[in-house]
């Protein structure tokens, strides 16, 4: 346990001034603007929005600037800011099927209705450092080859997994006549275990990307019975609608960029169900593809109990995953070790000394016999 201490005000002020100086760096170099961060480091901005759990690219970029680029600190800033705002209702469920596709790929089917669209991606790059960026800055963007442009076919993109659904080889995401349930909201009520699927998903979407990435990696390397396929990965804009009570019908309030991932997993079947494929689902703000995939994989692992699979590994254990996934909580707890634990430590020091004295005395006695 840590204790309160007094004093040090001047030193703390100076430490903050020094932090600002470090953040600014060499003043002969132009200062970064929030706009530049938003426009030119969009993937960092996306991560801060996801784990900060607030879609607002400008605020996320500001947080990154203030945090000297430290994602976890920036996420903390955004989370702190969100607590100052009132809640303005809940959106209508986002219709990702109507997404304006800018990227869509599948690892399960080569020929998709609507086609595979690579979009803006780092896949297929050679991961060679591009020294022209260092020497001259970004080269002018070469125009896209118009020959390959094929406008009309991008409109309707049915879900890839619906292809499996037609044959009944994959579980339904819901029964045809099933009504919507209102999902619990972990920003309003603490998580109770076992948590329903909607709450688990909410937790994972704001979970730490690295933690989820490693867990999903482990689940495929034998620490979990996971043999997944990337059924579909899609990115693009989705409209946001809500129903103001004073109007009584849904209106669009804007749009947002999302990445959605559906993983397909083998399921051996049980007494009630024949062998079939099951799904893991991931959704993330921006172009956060790694995040969406990791969420989908861990989301599936956490369904072990529900599907009657044996729970053997941490990535199948709800409480382990959900209560350690949040980077703000994790960072807070680790960081608190920096606070003064002087009294606690003194007592442990005292105890170690006493134990050693006792052992020494016992040994002496033994030797003197």
């Amino acid at each position: 346990m840590y204790v309160a201490v007094k004093g040090g005000e001047k030193a703390i002020d100076n430490a903050h001034a020094l932090m600002r100086k470090t953040r600014r760096g060499d003043e002969s170099i132009t200062e970064l603007t929030v706009e530049q961060i938003r426009e030119q480091l969009p993937l960092a901005v996306d991560r801060v929005m996801n784990e900060g759990s607030v879609y607002d690219p400008e605020l996320a970029a500001l947080a990154l600037k203030q945090a000297s680029g430290d994602a976890v600190e920036a996420i903390f800033l955004l989370r702190a800011y969100r607590t100052t705002l009132p809640r303005i209702g809940y959106s209508e469920p986002l219709d990702t099927e109507a997404m304006q596709i800018e990227r869509r790929i599948s690892g399960t089917f080569k020929d998709l209705p609507g086609g595979q669209v690579l979009g803006s991606t780092y896949d297929y790059t050679h991961r060679l450092l591009d020294f022209t960026l260092l020497a001259e800055g970004e080269a002018p963007i070469s125009a896209l080859d118009p020959e390959t442009s094929d406008e009309e076919t991008l409109d309707a993109c049915p879900r890839v997994l619906e292809l499996l659904n037609k044959e009944g080889l994959i579980e339904q995401s819901r029964e045809a006549d099933e009504a919507d349930h209102t999902p619990a909201d972990l920003t309003r009520e603490p998580v109770n275990y076992p948590a329903e699927r909607a709450v688990r998903l909410q937790n994972l979407v704001r979970g730490d990307e690295g933690f989820l990435l490693s867990l999903s990696y482990a689940s495929m390397r034998g620490y979990g019975d996971s043999h997944p396929f990337a059924g579909e990965l899609r990115s693009g804009r989705v409209n946001v609608e809500l129903v103001p009570e004073e109007l009584g019908f849904a209106i669009e309030i804007g749009d947002l960029f999302l990445t959605e991932c559906e993983m397909v997993n083998q399921f051996h079947g049980n007494k009630n169900q024949p062998p079939q494929f099951t799904r893991g689902y991931g959704l993330a703000f921006g172009r956060s593809e790694r995040k969406a995939m990791s969420v989908a994989l861990v989301e599936r692992s956490l369904r072990a109990e529900e599907l009657g699979e044996e729970v053997l590994y941490p990535n199948q254990d709800q409480e382990f995953v959900l209560s350690h996934s949040d980077c703000v909580s994790a960072n807070g707890f680790v960081s608190h070790l920096k606070l003064p634990h002087y009294v606690d430590f003194q007592s442990e020091l005292e105890m170690i000394r006493r134990l050693r004295r006792e052992i020494a005395a016992a040994t002496d006695e033994e030797n003197n016999k």
């Binding site: 809640r87 209508e92 129903v243 009570e245 004073e246 109007l247 009584g248 849904a250």
Partner: protein, 212 residues
């Protein structure tokens, strides 16, 4: 999604606080004083246009205390006044509920008070999860009628709250026996308000005591 019948009539909407943050805090500060110094008559500084049956201090109290997470119960005439419900839903977003037992806040006119035991008195683990009852009364003064003692009152205070039924008065006085369980009350009249938290002991004074 089917089209809902709007539960907010946009023709009934009026302006809320002119400066929601500053004014909300100003009223909250006044309520804090009222609660921490029970029986003290507080006069709110702002004068707002009010919706339907609500008076100035009730309206401002609700604007500053309610939000989307507070369940609200309204007494029958308030609940059937579209100007009241529309503006409360629009400005505060509070869910308006049927049963008073689950209410975080209950708002009533003095002549249609809920039965006190039908409100939430909290639990011994969480006495704070009780209903706060806001009553709009026809008159409010410090005339000697009730003698008030308890935390936040130096020796004693007096108050007269008009329009309360005999049954309610007795129930309120008796409810003190179950402390820390109970209901905190705010009485509103015009621009004035007065609070009686559950920690305040109430004694009905005999008529001859008033003259002393």
């Amino acid at each position: 999604m089917a089209v809902l019948t709007p539960t907010v009539n946009s023709n009934a909407l009026i302006a809320g606080f002119d400066d929601p943050v500053q004014h909300g805090q100003q009223v909250f500060r006044a309520l804090l004083k009222a609660m921490s110094e029970p029986g003290t008559l507080i006069e709110l500084e702002l004068n707002l246009a009010t919706p339907g049956l609500l008076n100035n201090s009730t309206w401002q109290t609700l604007l500053s205390l309610l939000d989307a997470d507070t369940q609200l119960w309204l007494s029958p005439r308030l609940n059937s006044d579209e100007r009241v419900t529309s503006n409360l839903r629009f400005h505060c977003q509070s869910p308006i509920i049927d049963g008073s037992k689950a209410a975080d806040f209950a708002v009533a006119l003095a002549d249609e008070l809920p039965v006190l035991r039908d409100l939430n008195w909290g639990t011994s683990e969480y006495p704070d999860r009780s209903t706060t009852l806001i009553v709009q009364v026809p008159a409010l003064s410090d005339e000697p009628h009730w003698e008030l003692t308890g935390p936040g009152i130096e020796s004693r205070k007096t108050a007269r709250i008009a329009g309360l039924s005999e049954e309610f008065r007795l129930a309120l006085i008796n409810s003190r026996k179950r402390f820390p369980l109970g209901v905190d009350c705010i009485f509103c009249c015009g621009s004035k308000l007065l609070a009686l938290p559950r920690s305040t002991q109430i004694r009905e004074m005999r008529p001859e005591e008033g003259e002393a």
